[in-house]
């Protein structure tokens, strides 16, 4: 496995990806031949009507979901060949996830939530603390590390989720409608955070969204329709 993120190797490479769900023995085509290449340092928004396959594509790229045809490569690793355990390891090492529902562990403090994933990686306790603190710091959560998720606002919880996603220094940050539960002011704040991550640390980010404000912050806008890439600002130019 190579962690090479130089611009000549794409961070994400999808070729004719199909994902077919069987619903009561009727096949549902969630992805019907999606093609997408994302290079390091891009900030991509994935838009499109409900049911167009945005979440499915993110899940496939993130190794959370399998696919039925085509090829998917993340950070140089071809996912089609990996078994469940190898996919879990890939998620742990290479991908950071941010979900619409913040999905923090309610019984752990903000800092412990961030540390949790480092613990899964087997990072020593002292290094865990240092890295968790600096991740929280960089997201403006320096003072809130000891609070439990229930004691934080939605925007703060989502920033903790981002801290958790980036603390492992993944090659790719995937966010599925991260601002859908936030008001417009908090949405803007969160997008600024993501933009900073992208511009200052060169983090490659892909976010699914319905929200034009989100798209305005991203460097590349991709639109999906019926399980295919319908429009791509990178291709248009």
């Amino acid at each position: 496995m190579s962690d090479n993120t130089a611009s000549d190797t794409p961070v994400v490479y999808c070729q004719d990806v199909q994902r077919i769900y069987q619903q009561e023995s009727v096949p549902v085509y969630a992805l019907r031949g999606a093609n997408l290449t994302i290079t390091a340092g891009e900030f991509v928004s994935l838009a499109g009507p409900s049911g167009s396959g945005k979440s499915t594509l993110l899940n496939v790229i993130g190794g959370l979901d399998g696919f039925d045809a085509g090829e998917v490569t993340v950070g140089g690793t071809s996912l089609g060949a990996l078994n469940a355990s190898e996919l879990a390891q890939m998620r742990l090492e290479k991908v950071g996830f941010v979900f619409q529902a913040y999905n923090l562990i309610p019984v752990l403090s903000a800092r412990e939530n961030v540390e949790f994933i480092l613990q899964l990686q087997g990072v020593s306790s002292q290094e865990r603390q240092e890295r968790a603190n600096s991740a929280l710091q960089s997201l403006g959560l320096g003072d809130l590390g000891d609070r439990r998720p229930g004691e934080l606002s939605g925007g703060q919880q989502q920033r903790v989720a981002i801290a958790r996603a980036i603390v492992t220094e993944p090659v790719l940050l995937l966010a599925d409608e991260p601002t859908a539960n936030l008001d417009s002011k908090t949405t803007s704040e969160l997008l600024e955070v993501l933009q900073q991550l992208n511009q200052q640390q060169g983090m490659t980010i892909v976010t699914a969204t319905h929200d034009p404000i989100v798209m305005s912050y991203t460097s590349r806008q991709v639109a999906m329709m019926d399980g295919e890439i319908h429009q791509d600002s990178a291709m248009a130019s």
Binding site: N59, L64, A88, F97, Q100, A101, N103, V107, F116, L120
Partner: protein
């Protein structure tokens, strides 16, 4: 991970305490009952063996098969001296012979028993039941059973003639003065026994440094096995050792029966608690499917998630066990010092009916087995009970578990 497990237990405090309380209560009940049991067995064995037959007996193997008079242990004094070199062991020789016991016109069949009164009165309880007169002092004095005295019309101070056949069929005859009368409550003993000093009986029956048995008493019953093994190495020829288990098989059988019954009860109780734990973890899995999906999305393997929940189960069982033992230990400790008066339980009457001498208090005894059995079973049971539901973690798919409702 420990922290996570601990916090998760605090999530639903009442359920945690309820489950831990159930575990604790069963640990308390089982370890207390088991301590009572081992205490009561000890008392049962002790009082039964102390009464008359001793912790063990050494005799000629053929005498055990059929107690014929000539089947004796030779050189009894030397063997007694040798056995007494074993630490914590006391040895008392006995001779016994069937005899006709008569006074005036009346005659009865009986058993002349030659004993070492000085030693036996120290160890055995039967001599506490002398109802008239006293323990014989001179070699021509005897202690007889109450029924025999009644049947003969004998009183303390009367003369008894004991007639039997000694070695090689020689007629044996002796005269004893009744020094005391004993009432054991056991018809067989009260009707037949004539206790006399061993020297007097041996002489009358022409025995020379011989005994029919060497009665054994150990200081501490738990050492009987080890001491028995030492004794065996010192026994030669046809001599054989019988311990109380062989001398009084009924006692052991009734203990085994009681144990089996108790085990059934404990098993039922523990199974009940295990079902409560199963229920708890079915709920845990149901409530936290989404969280487990998240764990896996973040890169945890299913077995790691299962391990995490199993660890919660372990903490829960330790909590319950701690609770149970914290209550059980002081209770057992206190009662093993003070004892439980048996009159409240009708125990004295029961003891008398069992003809085991007297004891009026039951002392629970904490043994390793009585304290550790329930906790061990609870830990294993809780783990298995939790596993019943946690194996289903493997079926959780992160995408569907995390889907926004």
């Amino acid at each position: 991970m420990i922290r996570l497990a601990w916090r998760n237990l605090q999530r639903n405090k009442s359920r945690t305490w309820l489950t831990a309380g159930g575990i604790g209560f069963s640990v308390l009940l089982v370890s207390f009952a088991m301590s009572m049991q081992s205490g009561s067995y000890e008392i049962m064995i002790d009082s039964a063996t102390r009464y008359f037959s001793g912790h063990g007996q050494v005799s000629d193997a053929s005498y055990i098969d059929q107690p014929r008079f000539e089947r004796t242990v030779p050189n009894a004094t030397a063997l007694q001296a040798e056995l007494e070199t074993i630490d914590g062991l006391s040895v008392m020789p006995r001779v016994q012979a069937f005899a006709v016991v008569s006074m005036g016109e009346k005659s009865l069949g009986g058993m002349a028993m030659g004993v070492d009164f000085a030693a036996e009165t120290r160890f055995l309880d039967i001599y506490d039941n002398v109802i008239e007169g006293q323990i014989p002092r001179a070699s021509d004095e005897a202690l007889i059973g109450s029924s025999m005295a009644r049947n003969l019309g004998a009183r303390v101070g009367d003369e008894l003639i004991v007639l039997g056949s000694g070695k090689q069929g020689a007629v044996a005859a002796a005269i004893f003065i009744i020094a005391g009368i004993v009432e054991t409550g056991q018809v067989e003993l009260d009707r037949t026994l004539v206790f006399a000093p061993i020297a007097g009986v041996a002489e009358a029956f022409y025995l020379q440094d011989e005994a029919h048995m060497l009665l054994l008493m150990v200081e501490n019953l738990s050492q009987l096995g080890a001491i028995g093994a030492q004794i065996e190495t010192k026994l030669t020829g046809p001599l054989a050792l019988q311990t109380w288990q062989e001398l009084m098989p009924m006692i052991e059988q009734s203990i085994e029966l009681d144990k089996a019954g108790a085990q059934l009860f404990y098993s039922l109780l523990l199974i009940l608690v295990v079902f409560a734990v199963v229920n708890t973890f079915v709920m845990v899995l149901f409530e936290r499917t989404r969280e487990f999906g998240l764990f896996m999305a973040l890169g945890m393997r299913p077995w790691q998630v299962i391990g995490q929940v199993q660890f919660e189960a372990l903490l829960l069982s330790l909590l319950g066990i701690g609770l149970g033992l914290a209550l059980a230990l002081p209770l057992i400790n206190y009662l093993s010092a003070v004892g439980i008066p048996l009159e409240y339980m009708g125990g004295e009457e029961a003891a008398r009916q069992m003809q085991m001498g007297s004891f009026d208090r039951l002392f629970p005894k904490a043994t390793l087995a009585s304290l550790l059995t329930a906790p061990m079973v609870m830990i294993v049971g809780t783990q298995l009970a939790a596993l019943v539901s946690t194996v289903r973690v493997r079926g959780i798919h992160p995408v569907s578990a995390l889907r926004v409702e």
